[in-house]
Subunit: 414 residues, 2 copies
C-alpha cells in the first residue's frame, strides 16, 4: 500500500509509520497531527471537517496527545486504520489534501504534557563502561542484573527537538583542588536514549503485570539526556544525578506507535550464560520472543565549523538488558501510579562495540581519548556551537523502512 502523498515513500514517514505529534498551526493553535512524508496531516482540522469520526475525534482536537494516550492502543489503532485509508485512497485525496501542511512551515511542540519523567539505565554495556571509569575494580554493581535501575528526572526542562541548549553552570571539584568551584560545566555530554510514553495509567497502589505492560505503552521517541559529567561526578552521591541532568532533556517531536513498530519486534536481550533469571514479576518466560525492538540509533555531530554533520556512533535498541515492558512493570511494581503522557526513557543505549557507544563519556574514556573528527577537530566533550542530532530508524526485508525523524539540539555557551 502506498500513500498518494508523493514524498512519503522512502522518507522517515511512509504510510506504514504515521507517528503522532503536536505542531503550532499558522493561526497559533497547538494541533495534533500525523507525519506523512514531508507533510503533516492536521488532525484537528480533519476532525473539525468530520473527516475523522468515532471516539478519537475529541482526542484529535486537543492540544496534546495526553487524551489520545489515555484511551489505549485500540483507540490509537482505530485512528491509524482511518489515517491509512485516507492517505492511501486516491479517491480521498481531494478531501484530505487541504488539511496537509508542510513540516518545514510549522513549529513542532512537545507531544504531551509530561507530568513525570523517569530515566532508566537499561544498557548493560553503558552501565559497565561508565562503572569501569568510576570504579575500575567493580564496574557493575550487584543489583544491576536484578533491578531495572532508574531514577526520576525533571519534567519541566524537557524541550522539543530544535531548542537551543545553554551550557549550565554548576559545582565541580577538580581532583587536585582542595575545594569545589562554581562555573560553566567543562564536560558537557549528550546521551543517546529512547523514550516511551505511557498510554493508559494505573491507579496508585495497583501494579501492572508484565503481561499487560505493553498495553500501557503508547509509543516511542528519541531522547537526548544532556549531561554535565563534571557536575555529575561531584554531586551524585548518595542520591543520584540532579543538576548534572536537569538543565535540559531534548526529545524528538514524533511519537512512533507500537503498531508501527510491530514488524520490527524481535527477541529480548539474550542474557549471557551465568546471568541470573529475572525475578518472577519481571520474567516473561515463554514470551521473550518479542520483547525487543530492532531500532537502529545514530548520533550525528555538527561542529560550528562543519557544513554537514558526521556520524559519531550507531547502536541498536535491542541491546538493552531490560525490555521496555520490564521497566514499566518494575516502575509500577510498588504501586507507583503512571499517568498518560508520562515519559520513561531507556538510559544511554550503548552496544558491545566501540562504534556503538551512546555518549562521549564512553567514546572518549572520560576525555582521555579524544574523538577524532574527519575535519581534523577533536572532542573530549561538547564545545559551544556543537549540534547533536539523534536519528532512529527500522529496516527489515519485506517491510517499509520507518524512521523517528530527528532529535536535534545545539549547545550555546560562552
Amino acid at each position: 500500500m502506498r500513500s498518494w502523498v508523493e514524498s512519503a515513500e522512502g522518507s522517515d514517514f511512509p504510510l506504514e509509520n504515521l507517528p503522532l505529534g503536536v505542531f503550532r498551526r499558522a493561526d497559533g493553535l497547538a494541533c495534533v497531527g500525523t507525519a506523512i512524508g514531508d507533510r503533516i496531516l492536521d488532525l484537528r482540522a480533519a476532525a473539525d471537517a468530520k473527516l475523522l469520526t468515532g471516539e478519537v475525534v475529541g482526542a484529535c482536537r486537543e492540544s496534546s496527545l495526553n487524551l489520545l494516550m489515555s484511551m489505549g492502543r485500540a483507540a490509537a489503532g482505530a485512528l491509524r486504520a482511518w489515517l491509512m485509508d485516507l492517505l492511501s485512497d486516491t479517491g480521498a485525496r481531494k478531501r484530505v489534501e487541504p488539511f496537509l501542511v508542510a513540516q518545514a512551515d510549522v513549529q513542532m511542540l512537545l507531544p504531551a504534557r509530561i507530568r513525570d519523567y523517569t530515566d532508566f539505565y537499561a544498557s548493560v554495556y553503558h552501565a559497565t563502561n561508565v562503572g569501569r571509569l568510576f570504579r575500575p575494580d567493580n564496574p557493575l554493581l550487584p543489583n544491576y542484573k536484578y533491578v531495572p535501575i532508574g531514577y526520576h528526572g525533571r519534567a519541566s526542562s524537557i524541550v522539543v527537538s530544535g531548542t537551543e541548549v545553554r551550557r549550565p553552570c554548576g559545582q565541580t571539584k577538580p581532583a587536585d583542588a582542595p575545594e569545589p568551584v562554581f562555573g560553566p560545566s567543562r564536560a558537557l555530554d549528550y546521551e543517546l536514549e529512547v523514550g516511551f510514553f505511557v498510554g493508559p495509567g494505573n491507579a496508585l497502589g495497583t501494579p501492572i503485570p508484565l503481561a499487560e505492560a505493553e498495553s500501557h505503552i503508547f509509543g516511542l521517541c528519541l531522547v537526548n539526556d544532556w549531561s554535565a559529567r563534571d557536575v555529575q561526578v561531584w554531586e551524585y552521591q548518595p542520591l543520584g544525578p540532579f543538576l548534572a541532568k536537569n538543565f535540559a532533556t531534548t526529545i524528538s517531536p514524533w511519537v512512533v506507535t507500537l503498531d508501527a513498530l510491530r514488524p520490527f519486534r524481535g527477541p529480548a536481550f539474550a542474557r549471557p550464560e551465568g546471568d541470573p533469571k529475572p525475578l518472577a514479576y519481571l520474567d516473561a518466560e515463554g514470551d521473550r520472543s518479542r520483547g525487543g525492538f530492532d531500532v537502529t540509533l545514530e548520533v550525528w555531530l555538527r561542529t560550528a565549523r562543519m557544513q554537514e554533520p558526521v556520524r559519531v556512533s550507531r547502536g541498536n535498541l535491542r541491546d538493552l538488558y531490560w525490555t521496555l515492558g520490564q521497566m514499566l512493570t518494575h516502575h509500577a511494581s510498588n504501586g507507583c501510579n503512571l499517568q498518560p503522557g508520562d515519559l520513561l526513557a531507556s538510559g544511554t543505549v550503548s552496544g558491545a562495540t566501540e562504534d556503538s557507544l551512546g555518549c562521549l563519556l564512553e567514546l572518549t574514556r572520560r576525555g582521555a581519548q579524544p574523538l577524532q573528527l574527519p575535519d581534523g577537530e577533536t572532542r573530549r566533550f561538547l564545545e559551544g556551537g556543537d549540534e547533536v542530532i539523534l536519528r532512529g530508524y527500522c529496516e527489515r526485508e519485506g517491510h517499509a523502512r520507518i524512521g523517528f525523524g530527528e532529535c536535534r539540539g545545539r549547545l550555546i555557551s560562552g
Copy 2:
C-alpha cells in the same frame, strides 16, 4: 487583633495564620479556601459574592493554588490583608459568615497541581546518622557541606493528609541470601519533612540569585516521605532512591505563607567552626540573620491498639544545614526552570539530640534498638494499622502561636 470566629484563638489557625488550601465543597467543586479556627472561608464563594476584589479574585476562583502562587508574594500579601480585615471586623461578620464551612464537613485536596517534586537532604544530623548506618567509617560524604544534595521525587504519588498508604512490594536482598526476593517491604518508615511551594517560576536557562530566592517561595507545608528502607538499600546505587520512595508521599493540606511565618524567622544554621563557607552563589553573607525558620516539628504515632497517638520525636526546622533559599537557588543554579506549584522538600529534619530524630531508621538504628512505646508495644519499623501524624507549629513570646495542622497517614497492609 482577633477574629470574630470564636474557634480561631488558640487553634493552629488564628487570624495571624490564614493558610491557604483547596477543599471539595458540598456541590463537588474544588475550591480555594483559608483556614480560620475550625472553619474554612470559601474564597471562591467570597469572590463570587464580590467580597474580594482586585487581581487575586481570578486566582481565588481556581481549583488549585497554582495561579495565586504564580502571582508572587505581593498578591498573596494583598489577599492576606483583605482576609485579616474581613475576619476581624465584626461589622463584616454578617456578610462573611455565610461563606464559612466547617473543616470537619469537607474533604481537603492537594493544594496545588504539583508538576515537579524535589526532595533535598538538608539536615546534616540526618545525613550523618544515615551515613553512619551504611558507611560507619565515612558517614558524611565530601560533597555534603558544599552541595545542597537533592534528587527528583515522584509527583504523581503525592497524596493529601488522610489518604491511606498501602505497604509496597519491592525487591530486597537479605544480607545472608544469595539472591534478592520480591515481596512486601518489611522496613517501612516515615520521614518528617517540611515542603515549600514555588511561587513565581524562572525561565529555563535563568538562575535565581540567592537574594531573590524567597520571592519565589509561596509557603510551607508538612511532608511525610514514606520510605521502604529494605528496598532502598538494595536499589539505590548508583542512581539514588526510586521505588523505595515513590509509592506515596503525604503532605498537609494547608500552605502556611511566608508572611504568616515572618515573626518566626531567625538566623540560619550556625556552621560549626572549621566547616567551609558556602560557595559565593550560596552565600548570604550579611543576610544570614533571617535565613532560618523556627518551626517545631513533631511526629506522633498511633498503633492499631492505641486510642490516642503518642509523640515519638520533636525537632525544629532551624536545624537544617541549608536554608530553603539556598536549596531553591542551588536548584535553579544550572538554569533548571521551577514552576508555580512545584514542591521542594527539606529531607528528613533531624536534630542533634536523640529525641529529635525524624525517622525510625535513625531512632531505632536501622531496627537494632526498637522503639519502646508507652503501652508496651515496640517498633523497629512501621506495622500495618500504624498511623503517623506530623505536626508543626511556631511559638514566640509576644506573637500568636500558629500551626500547620496535621499531615496524617495510616499504613494499610497485609
